[in-house]
C-alpha cells in the first residue's frame, strides 16, 4: 500500500507468493510483501509504533516497533522487516519491551513535553504510548532545549517543544499533498522540522493550507488554531484513501 517498502524499493518481494510463519507462537499467514507489523496487526497482535503511519512511506526510524526473531541476534524493526517462511517472531519479550520503554523515555527527555498545558492532552500518541508501555517515570535527564512556537500561519501553529521528529508531516506534505513545504534541517540532536527556507510557516509560499500535516502529527506539535483541547482530535481517514487514489508512481522525496 505505501510505496516504501512495497513499491519499487522491494521488487524482490512477490505479492502473489504466500507464506506462513509464527508471531508470538501463533501461526499466521502472509503475503511476501506484507511487513511483520502489518501481519501482526491483522491478527490483533499489538506492536507500538510512532514513525509508521498507514498510507505513508516507511522510515524505520523511531525503533519502537522492534521485535526479536529467533535465531537472529539483531533486533529488527517490524515496520520494515518482511517475514520468511517459518520465521519465529517474538513481539513482547522482556528485552524488547524494556528497550521500547527506554526509547520512549529518551523521546520525552528530548523536548519539553508538558502535557498538562498541551493542546493534544488526552489524545496524543506519545501519551498513549507511555500508558501502553507502562512508562511512569523517566530515568534520564531532561535536556530542556529552547524552542519557540511559530503561530504565523493563519490557521495552524507549530510548537517544536512537542515534536518527536517522526517526519510524518514531511512525508504527508510531499507524498500526498505534493507541496513539500516541510523538511528537516540540521542533523542529530539539533535537527528541526522547517517550512521552506526555515521561515515562519505563515510566509511559506509552498503551503496550500490543506492541513494534512496537522492531522498526521502524533503529538501537539502541529495544531489547528482556535480549537479547544477536546476538539484537537486528529483525523486521518483520508490518508490510505488518497494514497490509493493517487497511486503515486514516481519516487518519493523522503526516503
Amino acid at each position: 500500500m505505501s510505496h516504501h517498502p512495497k513499491g519499487k524499493l522491494r521488487t524482490d518481494l512477490n505479492p502473489s507468493r504466500l507464506l506462513t510463519f509464527k508471531i508470538d507462537d501463533r501461526d499466521v499467514s502472509a503475503r511476501e510483501d506484507e511487513s511483520i507489523l502489518e501481519v501482526a496487526r491483522q491478527n490483533g497482535i499489538a506492536i507500538p509504533t510512532l514513525c509508521h503511519l498507514d498510507g505513508l512511506s516507511e522510515r524505520g526510524a523511531c525503533r519502537l516497533c522492534i521485535v526479536e526473531v529467533r535465531g537472529v541476534a539483531k533486533l529488527l524493526p517490524s515496520c520494515v522487516t518482511f517475514p520468511r517462511q517459518d520465521m519465529e517472531v517474538i513481539t513482547n519479550s522482556e528485552r524488547v519491551v524494556n528497550y521500547r520503554k527506554k526509547i520512549l523515555e529518551l523521546l520525552f527527555t528530548e523536548r519539553n513535553h508538558v502535557c498538562s498545558v498541551c493542546v493534544s492532552n488526552g489524545h496524543c500518541e506519545l501519551q498513549n504510548l507511555s500508558v501502553e508501555l507502562g512508562v511512569t517515570h523517566v530515568r534520564y535527564n531532561y535536556l530542556y532545549p529552547e524552542h519557540a512556537v511559530d503561530a504565523s500561519h493563519s490557521r495552524f501553529s507549530v510548537d517544536h517543544n512537542r515534536c518527536v521528529l517522526c517526519l510524518r508531516c514531511v512525508r504527508v506534505c510531499d507524498e500526498i499533498e505534493g507541496a513539500h513545504t516541510w523538511d528537516i534541517m540540521g542533523r542529530g540532536i539539533t535537527s528541526k522540522v522547517i517550512t521552506d527556507l526555515n521561515q515562519p510557516w505563515g510566509t511559506a509560499e509552498t503551503c496550500t493550507g490543506c492541513g494534512k500535516c496537522v492531522q498526521v502529527c502524533p503529538t501537539g506539535a502541529l495544531s489547528e488554531k482556535g480549537k479547544s483541547v477536546a476538539e484537537m482530535i486528529k483525523r486521518r481517514q483520508f490518508l490510505p484513501y488518497l494514497q490509493m487514489m493517487r497511486g503515486r508512481q514516481e519516487e518519493s522525496w523522503q526516503k
Binding site: K8, T11, G60, A61, L106, L143, I184, R187, I189, K255
Partner: protein, 548 residues
C-alpha cells in the same frame, strides 16, 4: 585510441629507460602532510638548482606520494643510497645537490631507522613515495593496468570473481566483509545498469590511509574499480571523496583524465566490448556518509541519512540499481591480486585475515605516519619497532583502533596479533586503519568523551536511540570528567550504551558506544577515580575538586 599489451609495454619501457638514464633521483614527498610544511617550494628549488648547474640529464627531481614518515616533513628520499633527508628547507637545497654522489648532508639525514621500513610489507603502498602520482606513465612502468588488461583479455568474469574470492580479501572499510562474496552477489543480479562506488569518505578523524593512497597512487584505485566493473557487469563508477581532501580530489581527477585519454577508461577498453567510466563526487563534511546507504543518498543529492537494510546496495543501490561499494584500500589490493593470482595474496597474513593492512599511526608515538604491515603482526611490534615507541620516556597506556566505532586496547593485549577477529575479541574493530597511541597523560574517560562528542555531532538524527542517546551519554561523560557524577550515573551510562548499541538503525549508532564500553571494561578505575575521589588519574581533566 585503444591500447593493447604491446602499447602498454612500450610505454613502460620508455619510462623505465628514461628513469634509468639518470644517475641520481631525488624524490620529494608532495603528499598533503609534507606539502603543508612546504615541500612544494623545496621541490621547485631543487629542480631549479639542478637546472642551474646543468645537471638535468644526470639527476631527476620528482614529486612523489607519501613516504610514510609524515612528522619529519618536508621529506626527501634519495633513490641512490636509499637515505632520507628530513625537515628540508629551501636553504638546504644547494647542499643537497652538491652532496649527490658524495657523502650525504649529515645534518638533514633521517636517523637510519631500518625497523620502520624493513618490518613493513608494501602491497597497497608499493608505489607510494616511488612514482609521480601525476603521471600515468610512471604507474604503467610499475606494471600498472596490466591487471586490467589480463582480466579483460584473458579471463572470464567468473575467473576474476574466482581469483578475488580465492585471495580471501576482506573489505578494508571497517567491517571486513569478504570482497569476493560481495562482488559475486552484485555479479549475480540481473539488471543492465549497475554501479561501482569507491568509498573514499574516510571519516575516522585521525586516519589518513585512503587519502595517502589517492594522493600517491590514484591509478591503482582506478584500475581496481575497472576490474570490479568488468567482474560485476557495471559500466559506471563513482569515487566519493571527502571535500576536505582537495589534493586527493585533484590527483584523482587528473588520473581519470589521463586514463580516459589513453583509452584505459571509456568505450571498448583494450579493444574488448567492455566499457567503463568513473566520475568523482564530493562529500560535504558528514561522517555518516561513509555508511553505504547514506553515501548513496549523498551521491543522489540528498541528505546522507542511512536507510534500513535489507535491501542491501548490492541488490538495490544507487538510483535503485545493483551497486558495489568498496573502500579505497580494498580496490587498491585488486591489481596485484589479478597480476599475481588469488593464491599469492592468500599466502600473506593469517588464516582469516589475508594480505596486509595500511595503518595511520598517530598520537603519542615517535614515528607518526603511514605504515603497511602483514595482517597478524603483533601490536607490540607495530608500536615499539615500527612506531619507535612512546616519546619523552612516557609510559604506554592504550592504542585506539577503529576510530569512533572502535575501542581502546590496553597494555595487556600488546602481544595480540592485529587482525579482524582478534581486534573484535577485545572489543575493538579493525576499522579503516586509524591507530592512535595514548600514553599515561591521556585520560581514558576524556578520550571516551571525545569520541562520544564526535558521534553525537555526526549522528544523522534519523533514529531516536542514536539521536538522543548519544547526547545523554555525552552529558554523563561530561559530568564524570567534571567530577560531579555518582555511582548511579555510571549505571545509567552502561544502560544507555547497551540501548544505543542494540536499537540504533545504522552502524554509527550501533558502534558509537564502543569507545565507552572498552574504556569502562579496561580502565574502570579511571572512571571510579573521577566519581569517588573526584580525581583524574592522568591529570587531564579539571574535576570539581581540583577546580575548587
Amino acid at each position: 585510441m585503444t591500447l593493447n599489451i604491446e602499447d602498454l609495454h612500450q610505454i613502460a619501457k620508455i619510462e623505465q629507460d628514461t628513469q634509468q638514464g639518470f644517475q641520481h633521483r631525488i624524490n620529494v614527498c608532495v603528499a598533503a602532510g609534507c606539502l603543508s610544511c612546504g615541500s612544494g617550494v623545496v621541490k621547485d628549488a631543487l629542480a631549479r638548482e639542478v637546472g642551474k648547474r646543468g645537471l638535468d640529464n644526470w639527476c631527476q627531481v620528482k614529486g612523489v606520494g607519501c613516504l610514510g614518515l609524515c612528522t619529519a616533513g618536508p621529506l626527501i628520499a634519495l633513490e641512490v643510497g636509499g637515505r632520507f633527508y628530513q625537515g628540508v628547507k629551501v636553504a638546504d637545497v644547494a647542499d643537497i645537490v652538491e652532496a649527490l654522489g658524495a657523502s650525504p648532508v649529515d645534518r638533514l639525514l633521517y636517523p637510519d631507522d631500518s625497523a620502520f621500513f624493513q618490518r613493513q610489507l608494501r602491497i597497497v603502498t608499493e608505489n607510494c613515495g616511488r612514482i609521480d602520482p601525476e603521471r600515468i606513465e610512471e604507474y604503467i612502468a610499475e606494471s600498472g593496468y596490466e591487471g586490467l588488461y589480463l582480466a579483460l583479455t584473458q579471463m572470464t568474469r567468473q575467473e576474476v570473481l574466482g581469483q578475488v574470492t580465492e585471495s580471501g580479501l576482506r573489505g578494508r572499510g571497517g567491517a571486513g566483509f569478504p570482497t569476493g562474496l560481495k562482488w559475486t552477489t552484485v555479479a549475480k543480479t540481473v539488471d543492465s545498469t549497475k554501479f561501482v562506488i569507491c568509498n573514499a569518505d574516510e571519516g575516522d578523524p585521525g586516519a589518513f590511509m585512503d587519502r595517502s593512497v589517492l594522493e600517491s597512487d590514484p591509478h591503482r584505485v582506478i584500475e581496481g574499480m575497472a576490474v570490479a566493473g568488468y567482474a560485476t557487469g557495471a559500466s559506471q563508477g563513482f569515487i566519493y571523496v571527502r571535500a576536505e581532501y582537495p589534493l586527493a580530489v585533484k590527483r584523482v581527477r587528473m588520473a581519470l583524465s589521463q586514463a580516459e585519454r589513453m583509452g584505459i577508461l571509456g568505450n571498448n577498453i583494450f579493444n574488448t566490448n567492455f566499457s567503463f567510466n568513473i566520475k568523482v563526487r564530493l562529500g560535504a563534511g558528514a561522517f555518516v556518509c561513509g555508511e553505504e546507504t547514506a553515501l548513496i543518498a549523498s551521491i543522489e543529492g540528498r541528505m546522507g541519512r542511512p536507510r534500513p537494510r535489507p535491501p542491501f546496495p548490492a541488490e538495490y543501490g544507487l538510483w535503485e540499481h545493483p551497486t558495489l561499494i568498496n573502500n579505497v584500500e580494498t580496490f587498491a589490493n585488486i591489481p596485484p591480486i589479478i597480476r599475481h593470482g588469488g593464491k599469492w595474496f592468500a599466502g600473506i597474513g593469517t588464516e582469516k585475515s589475508k594480505g596486509t593492512k595500511v595503518f595511520a599511526l598517530a598520537g603519542k608515538i615517535v614515528n607518526t605516519g603511514l605504515i603497511e604491515v602483514p595482517m597478524g603482526m603483533p601490536l607490540r611490534e607495530i608500536v615499539y619497532e615500527i612506531g619507535g615507541g612512546i616519546p619523552e620516556g612516557k609510559r604506554f597506556k592504550a592504542v585506539q583502533t577503529g576510530g569512533p566505532s572502535g575501542g581502546c586496547i590496553p597494555q595487556q593485549f600488546l602481544d595480540m596479533p592485529v587482525d579482524y577477529d582478534s581486534l573484535m575479541q577485545v572489543g575493538s574493530i579493525m576499522g579503516s586503519g586509524g591507530m592512535i597511541v595514548m600514553d599515561e597523560s591521556s585520560c581514558m574517560v576524556d578520550v571516551a568523551k571525545f569520541f562520544m562528542e564526535f558521534c553525537m555531532s555526526e549522528s544523522c538524527g534519523k533514529c531516536a536511540p542514536c539521536r538522543v542517546g548519544t547526547r545523554q551519554i555525552y552529558d554523563i561523560l561530561c559530568k564524570i570528567t567534571a567530577g560531579g557524577a555518582t555511582t548511579e550515573d555510571l549505571a545509567t551510562l552502561e544502560d544507555l550504551c547497551d540501548l544505543v548499541k542494540h536499537t540504533s538503525l545504522c552502524g554509527l549508532g550501533q558502534s558509537a558506544p564502543n569507545p565507552v564500553l572498552t574504556t569502562l571494561n579496561y580502565f574502570r578505575d579511571e572512571y571510579l577515580a573521577h566519581i569517588h575521589d573526584k580525581k583524574c588519574l592522568a591529570g587531564a581533566c579539571k574535576t570539581a575538586k581540583e577546580v575548587s
